[in-house]
């Protein structure tokens, strides 16, 4: 399962990088979203999958899954949401001000002072 998840995460990374290298601003933002999904899956995989019960003491299980990657990922989800939101608003405003979402056309515009 871990091997499979590593491949899936790699796939998400590849797709994300491909999108981020494109010209359209929205595709770049979608790319960052995919990148964070890939990272989360990878982090979770690194902690070992299905090694025990849900990390809640009330379960009274013999073993629990690793809570540390989960705590990390929880933080990461929220932060990546914040980043996505800021990116989106920037895209929105950039389009409003400049009339394009093409990165090449945005380069070196007069209004960027």
């Amino acid at each position: 399962m871990e091997i499979l998840m590593c491949i899936v995460a790699g796939l998400l990374f590849a797709a994300a990088v491909y999108l981020m290298l494109s010209k359209s601003l929205l595709r770049i933002i979608i790319g960052t979203g995919l990148l964070s999904h890939g990272t989360h899956l990878m982090l979770l995989t690194m902690g070992g999958l299905k090694t025990g019960a849900v990390p809640v003491l009330g379960e009274n299980a013999a073993s629990y899954t690793d809570p540390i990657p989960q705590a990390l990922i929880l933080t990461a989800i929220v932060i990546s949401f914040g980043v996505t939101a800021v990116f989106l608003v920037i895209a929105y405003r950039a389009y409003q001000e400049l009339g394009t979402d093409n990165m090449d056309q945005m380069r070196g515009m007069e209004t960027d002072d």
Binding site: M1, E2, I3, L4, C6, L11, L12, F13, A14, A15, V17, Y18, L19, L21, S22, K23, L26, R27, I28, I30, G33, H37, H40, L41, M42, L44, M46, G47, G48, L49, K50, V54, P55, V56, L57, G58, Y64, T65, D66, P67, I68, A71, I73, L74, T75, I77, V78, I79, F81, T84, A85, V86, V89, A91, Y92, R93, Y95, M103, R107, T111
Partner: protein
């Protein structure tokens, strides 16, 4: 920390207070306060005379960086003391002179004196350091303060150009020297110069010996303006004249001489040292004196003459190295070269210092330093004229001044070289006295120019900005003192013999002096009709003839095309460096975000891929992996399908919805992998993000993709595949090689007992790592503020900000 350390640091401490003095006591010229320091230091250091006169030394150590073996060791011997007295003595005279030279009201005196004090302290540090690292540190301090002082009138282009040039060249040399010091310290396993000198015979056979020597010499040659590095010194003349007199003639440029003298005990046994130091010095001497004659600016003449005289001292030190190959002290004729070097060092400081001050007076009183505009000032400025005659005649090597004595000794040393049968000198021996003689002839010519072009000839008041008159007494005191020394040392040279010259020379060639004995120093005028006297007479006759016919042969200088000069080379290489770096930067800073991401990802692939390959880090071990069941395979397929849809979707809406599908699949994975908190959070966040995307979609243009060139698409695909591959490989390797157990046991044990909670993930977030969560909230609020600002703030055309509702 001893008295010696405080003496070195005193100028720096004083420099801190100078701005306050300037502010609080503005009615008194700041120089009067500063003057106290060099006078006190000078008299403090006089007490070391009894020690050094018997070739003794004093050493005080204060720990600085003990863990690296770097101590702040102050060390006084004959050589150090000579330099210290020059630095503080000339320093006092220069400060006194500057009080009258620099206007109290017009100039920013506090800057001037801060830099000057910084220089004084740095210079004391250079000559008193026994540790090569502290020596280097103070050495660079002198370069920096010299830079600041040359650029003192920073609104002039020439000043800034000169400052930059001196900085680039001397700091380049300084860095080379540091390299040399490090090589030396590796060879000898110590930073102490004395300890290195003690191992000189072993170091001499070390394979790195030559490298260390060349690096150290680069430092010395750049600082002492030797060929081909001398080009910075003429441009450094843009500094105020007191600075030129102090830094660029009497002290700082002699730091290179000091370095060569100080490291002679380590390097001088080698034939390379003899050749490099001797030949470079002598060539510099002849070349610079030849070039001095064509200058029209008085300070330009003095600059080239300084280069030439430094070359003279340098060559004497190089030739003096031959003395190490003879045992007997009594008939060791080459020690005379070392003695001549030390003697000329003192003489040069006196006559060149006074000449610079004289030129400063002429500049101050007439408004120009151009010898084509000056003339006939003898009757108007009689005292200045007398001073310049003393200084210039001494420089030309005329009796009865001190320059005559040391010049004779210099010529004698060059002649004696013909008897040397070491280092393959024989075939070249004749060249040494010939070059020395030619250099002396030109020295004679430019010395005469300084006196007679300015003070005799036709008075041209219409070309001068001011009406010339004699300088005020205060300005004359310092040059008078120096000129008096020129005469006194000329008439009674043996005042110096055993007080200063012998101890300094002994420190340069310590190995040939048996314990309890001293070098024999006896300087006197009349040796009978000797070859060197005949050479001097020849210099005077030929020099006078050439001076008389000067206009007839000045055309010689036109044969040197401007394109091949060192200055042209310096300017061209500076220009090329600027242009080159500019075009390189422009080549990769394209302004396209794609380019930057490509660099980052390419580096990611290369660095991680290479590391994995080089360290053979890839491992594959699926034995610990969890089993795969049907649901998971289904979810993986859904995830892949959604991802591919994003990649190939034609419309924007499809890609946004597919991104949502990926997010929800990930949250289902969280459910399967026993992470209920994550699954819940992911569901909520994914919903909100998709909504946000759709909101944005509403505002953005319909067209989803911009047509890209095929080449770019293929390139992007390769990079993307590379990144994905590396991530997968690293993930598999990390999973397959677990070197230690997870630290999660701690949390499982303590979640309830220490934090009173049962949900471990929650407890980690809000308790164990509570601050992380706090900052996470802070990040979110910053993001929220940013979003609010971006939506609300409107930048009107014209750059004014206001808010639109």
């Amino acid at each position: 920390m001893s008295l010696l350390h405080w003496a070195i640091l005193a100028p720096f401490i004083m420099a801190v207070f100078v701005p306050f003095l300037r502010k609080k006591a503005a009615s008194i010229h700041t120089g009067w306060f500063v003057l106290i320091l060099p006078v006190v230091l000078f008299s403090t250091f006089l007490q070391y005379f009894p020690v050094t006169m018997n070739n003794g030394s004093v050493s005080e150590t204060a720990a600085w960086i003990p863990s690296l073996g770097i101590d702040f060791t102050a060390y006084v011997d004959g050589l150090s003391l000579l330099f210290v007295l020059l630095i503080t003595g000339i320093g006092a005279l220069v400060v006194l002179y500057s009080i009258f030279y620099l206007s109290k009201t017009k100039e920013s005196l506090h800057h001037f004196y801060v830099y000057l004090l910084m220089f004084m302290g740095a210079m004391l540090g250079v000559v008193l350091s026994d540790n090569v690292i502290t020596l280097y540190m103070f050495w660079e301090f002198t370069s920096i303060s010299s830079f600041l002082l040359i650029a003192y009138w920073y609104d002039r282009d020439r000043s800034r150009y000169g400052a930059l040039k001196s900085m680039l060249i001397t700091v380049f040399g300084g860095l080379m020297m540091l390299g040399g010091f490090l090589v030396l310290s590796i060879m000898g396993n110590t930073f102490s110069i004395r300890e290195l000198a003690a191992q000189a015979p072993e170091l001499n056979d070390h394979p790195l010996f030559l490298l260390a020597m060349i690096l150290v010499l680069l430092g010395a040659f750049t600082k002492s303006a030797q060929f081909p590095f001398y080009i910075w010194l003429p441009d450094a003349m843009e500094a105020p004249t007191p600075v030129s007199a102090y830094l660029h003639s009497a002290t700082m440029v002699k730091a290179g001489i000091y370095l060569v003298a100080r490291f002679s005990p380590i390097f001088a046994f080698s034939g390379y040292w003899f050749w490099i130091v001797g030949a470079v010095g002598l060539f510099t001497m002849a070349w610079a004196s030849f070039n001095a004659v064509k200058q029209t600016d008085l300070k330009g003449i003095l600059a080239f003459s300084t280069v030439s005289q430094l070359g003279l001292i340098m060559s004497l030190l190089g030739i003096g190295a031959a003395s190490l190959h003879f045992d007997a002290l009594d008939d060791n004729i080459y020690t005379a070269a070392v003695i001549a070097a030390v003697f000329h060092l003192i003489n040069h400081a006196t006559f060149k210092g006074s000449l610079f001050m004289v030129v400063g007076i002429i500049d101050h009183e007439t408004g120009t330093r151009d010898i084509r505009k000056l003339g006939g000032l003898m009757s108007l400025m009689p005292i200045t004229f007398t001073l310049s005659v003393i200084g210039a005649f001494s420089m030309a090597g005329l009796p009865p001044f001190n320059g005559f004595l040391s010049k004779e000794m210099f010529l004698l040393s060059m002649i004696q070289l013909m008897e040397l049968n070491l280092f393959n000198v024989e075939s070249w021996a004749l060249l040494f006295p010939v070059l020395a003689w030619v250099g002396s002839v030109f020295t004679f010519i430019y010395s005469m120019m300084i006196v007679f072009k300015v003070f005799t000839g036709k008075f041209q008041p219409e070309k001068l900005d001011k009406k010339p008159h004699e300088a005020p007494l205060g300005m004359l005191i310092s040059p008078i003192v120096l000129a008096l020394l020129v005469v006194v040392f000329g008439l009674f040279p043996n005042l110096l013999s055993y007080s200063l010259i012998q101890p300094a020379a002994a420190a340069i060639v310590p190995s040939i002096i048996p314990p309890g004995e001293q070098l024999y120093v006896n300087i006197y005028f009349w040796h009978g009709i000797t070859p060197e006297l005949l050479m001097t007479i020849g210099v005077i006759i030929v020099g006078l003839l050439l001076y008389k016919w000067l206009p007839k042969w000045m055309g010689v200088y036109d044969y040197f095309p401007g394109k091949v000069t060192l200055n042209h080379f310096y300017n061209a290489s500076l220009y090329a460096a600027e242009r080159g770096s500019n075009s390189i930067t422009n080549a990769y800073m394209t302004g396209f975000i794609r380019s930057y991401l490509v660099y980052i990802f390419a580096f990611f692939i290369a660095a991680l891929g290479f590391t994995m390959w080089a360290k053979e880090a890839f491992t594959f071990d699926a034995s610990a992996a969890a089993p795969i069941n049907f649901y998971e395979v289904a979810l993986v397929l859904v995830l892949i399908a959604a991802t591919l849809t994003i990649l190939f979707a034609k419309s924007r809406l499809t890609s946004i919805i597919s991104l949502g599908a990926v997010g929800y699949t990930v949250s289902l994975f969280f459910v399967i992998f026993r992470a209920p908190d994550l699954a819940l959070t992911q569901l909520v966040i994914e919903t909100v993000s998709t909504a946000l995307f759709l909101l944005c979609f509403y505002h953005l243009p319909k067209l989803s993709r911009h047509e890209e060139r095929r080449r770019f698409q293929v390139g992007n695909a390769i990079i993307a595949a590379g990144v994905g591959m590396i991530v997968t490989l690293i993930g598999i390797s990390a999973h397959s090689s677990k070197f230690f157990d997870s630290i999660n046991a701690y949390y499982i044990e303590n979640t309830y007992t220490k934090a009173g909670g049962e949900n471990m993930v929650n407890v980690i977030l809000v308790d164990f790592r509570g601050f992380d969560t706090l900052f996470e909230i802070a990040v979110l609020s910053v993001a929220a503020l940013g979003i609010y600002g971006l939506i609300k703030l409107r930048l009107e055309k014209g750059g004014e900000t206001n808010e639109n509702e």
